[in-house]
Point group: C2
Amino acid sequence: MAIKKQRAARRTDALSKERIVEAAIEILDAGGEGALTFRALAAHLATGSGAIYWHVADKDDLLAAATDGVVARVVTDMTDGARPREAIRALALGLFDAIDAHPWVGTQLSRAPWLAALPQIFEGFGSRLEELGVPGSAQFDATSTLVIHVLGVAGQNAANARLHAHRTDRTAFLGSIADQWAQLDPAQYPFVRRVAAQLPVHDDREQFLAGIDLILDGIAALRQKPTPRP
Amino acid sequence: MAIKKQRAARRTDALSKERIVEAAIEILDAGGEGALTFRALAAHLATGSGAIYWHVADKDDLLAAATDGVVARVVTDMTDGARPREAIRALALGLFDAIDAHPWVGTQLSRAPWLAALPQIFEGFGSRLEELGVPGSAQFDATSTLVIHVLGVAGQNAANARLHAHRTDRTAFLGSIADQWAQLDPAQYPFVRRVAAQLPVHDDREQFLAGIDLILDGIAALRQKPTPRP
DNA sequence: ACCTGAACACCGTTCAAGT
DNA sequence: ACCTGAACACCGTTCAAGT
């Protein structure tokens, strides 16, 4: 008997960039960065891989749109009205938590600098520094230091998530690195050896926040001496 | 006439991980991250792509080794004996300059956290904080904040370098982003609009150092209040 | 032990052909 | 205008076969 090759039935709901990005986020959350391929995305959307290119320029465009979506949600959800220092800490923690929940966002933020998401983050930090009384000449550098801290931690966390994908539990994994650090040459690495024990037990989120506080303290010190060090 | 397929002559000098990494660095410096393929590397070394796998586990292993090589050179070259704050600034700048010269190192550092290079960087910053009189309980967080700043800027610079690969000159490129920022909604983005003008003219290296100074100032403030904020 | 290079399994992206 | 899916040009990685 003859087997007729059936063409796949055309979907009734039209494709759109919005639906494509939504599906991409689902795939990224479920399977990590490696799971997002145009073939997987096309299958998920019951279409051909070429159809996606009608709505999206390329993979970078797709990842940028997905990242912007997640970041926009965090920034928009920020409750206004808190005192500036608290608002800055809350925004930083909101971004940290979003990146923790979607590690692929961390990868994107740390490797795509001029993302549409960036002005939102910049504004969130910068406008609060203004309220804190940071002199105008120092605002750009101070804001960028806060942003860099968020993006830097984002990249490291995403990389850690990639390593953890293979089921190793976090404490055991950090423990094995701590062991390596503890075995380094005492003459060359006294500090690293001393700090190794803290590695498996430290809290990433608290350490991230400690960094934000350190930077904010440095910014506070700035108000006393308007002239930068030579 | 019959054309005999000549097998490529076997090289006289043996392959080694060292020679492979050296060649990889040459290719990365010359052509950027996209230029390093096992085929290109095999051609450069006049061998088969499979031969490389005898000495190197996979591409990640290769990139890690290349990155460690560059970082080790910076850390080793650091002149000792300067006052701790100056030593920290010098190490930070040394790393910045190395990443600036080899943007692919920035990509690696920002996406591969537990690189062999990391203990060297940690030790460089951490041991100096000890000399600065930072209390032991705060040393881990303070060191990691400095390291994150270096890695964060590394990632952003590498990403910028990827965008610049296509010949656009830096000021023009940043100018076009500044234009976009300047056109954002004044009600939602007052700070970003104000800061846009500084974007094309600012110096990345100085801004990086301003961030290091901010963190160091925050660390200095730490000595006065040993108990962390609740 | 080390090297060769074809083969495999996968990508992102393009494009003629369909509706 | 939008979609289909095969085809193209690449990858990293493996492996039988050579020396």
